[in-house]
Symmetry: C2
Subunit: 227 residues, 2 copies
Amino acid sequence: LLQLVNVTRVYHSDAGPVPALGPLSLDLHPGEFVAIMGPSGSGKSTLLALAGALDQPTAGQVILAGQNLAGATPTALAELRRRVIGYIFQDLNLLPGLTAAENVALPLELDETPAASARQAATQALTEVGLAHLAQRFPDDLSGGEQQRVAIARAFVGHRRLLLADEPTGALDSVTGENVMRLLHSQTRAGRTALLVTHNAAHAAWADRVIYLRDGLVADEVVAPQP
Amino acid sequence: LLQLVNVTRVYHSDAGPVPALGPLSLDLHPGEFVAIMGPSGSGKSTLLALAGALDQPTAGQVILAGQNLAGATPTALAELRRRVIGYIFQDLNLLPGLTAAENVALPLELDETPAASARQAATQALTEVGLAHLAQRFPDDLSGGEQQRVAIARAFVGHRRLLLADEPTGALDSVTGENVMRLLHSQTRAGRTALLVTHNAAHAAWADRVIYLRDGLVADEVVAPQP
Ligand SMILES: Nc1ncnc2c1ncn2[C@@H]1O[C@H](COP(=O)(O)OP(=O)(O)OP(=O)(O)O)[C@@H](O)[C@H]1O
Ligand SMILES: Nc1ncnc2c1ncn2[C@@H]1O[C@H](COP(=O)(O)OP(=O)(O)OP(=O)(O)O)[C@@H](O)[C@H]1O
Ligand SMILES: [Mg+2]
Ligand SMILES: [Mg+2]
């Protein structure tokens, strides 16, 4: 479903080039649940941005759902981001002017899903993260962990095949965090594919394999024992 | 140094009153390191906002450095926030138009510290969190964990007596997170007082005692065994 082929990403800052990632290759198959761990600044969010067509590599190829992103038109990229990929951003990116339910329904609304079924899907997703009672609240009036759960629910709505989660449990207590991992894991058993960045080894344990980054390169890879 | 006496905080939302915290009492002595744990939405950030004079209780008193905040003038409150309290916010609150070093130096600059010593203190604080090489970067060009460390460094500059940290390690890998806890702990051994909200029991273990919140009330309190 997703292939990163020798990708490199160099940022250009005032102080000079910043080699944030690569060369790195990754193969993600449908239904697979892969976790990425590594020190702060090791390139995890950069990797996720390349995987999610939110950023372009400085070198190498990103192939998503059979499509080489380098050749993709802006329209095709926008459609991929809307229909194929569900994001949970490290800084959440909720829209403050929309309620929790409206934020969660937004990907479906943008994809021209009928309003009624979009709202129903949003309600179900919020229920799964324990926030049905806060559907009408605005993000500014929610706790940090509640905001994070709204962002998680938003990634789960619809039938997008690839879930990209950048540290989705950082603001959650262990019980709530475990619940999110259980949800994510069951989604992949049902056929979705997930790439999860996490600092929490207990959460990485839910994945089929764990890739360890250090200084933008793969330092290690561990395949989970089959139960 | 800090006393919360039967404080209650009720938010007023469109759907009706939200009893977020209390009645709750807390006594924090100079040099003490107290951790607050609890489920998402249990009132931890609300408690910290009251302790830090960023919010007023609906009922009860907050007494900081001998001063009852209820009677304090806006000027007195601003001075407390600038001189006595160092904050690490759950959503960081870095100024995007300032570099990392400028963000860290800001509390000192606002307190009319000479620019040279403010910059020196900022450099030292950034070095302690491993970010000396990123001093000239802007927050938008930093990783999530790097941004969090800038916010931590900012709270450490100057000689403010009370450190209020709202989940300061959520975006950090375990090694970096441990380093921050070691810094915070050594600050309290040197005389500072710290109130730390965390979901990470391993980090709460650095504290002298741990208070557990549930639904806005104290559910339990554990005193750390003396080594
Ligand atoms: N501005 C607000 N208006 C209405 N309700 C609010 C507001 N801010 C917080 N709340 C509610 O108050 C309760 C406590 O919020 P608080 O932010 O203190 O929780 P928390 O323990 O810090 O949670 P987390 O671990 O998720 O950060 C939550 O139920 C939240 O929904
Ligand atoms: N816009 C940018 N300009 C310059 N350098 C950047 C930019 N964004 C990130 N970097 C640098 O690239 C490196 C990798 O960043 P990235 O955000 O991928 O790290 P990360 O592994 O997600 O870290 P964290 O765990 O702290 O979130 C870091 O050293 C960071 O300072
Ligand atoms: Mg990151
Ligand atoms: Mg909070």
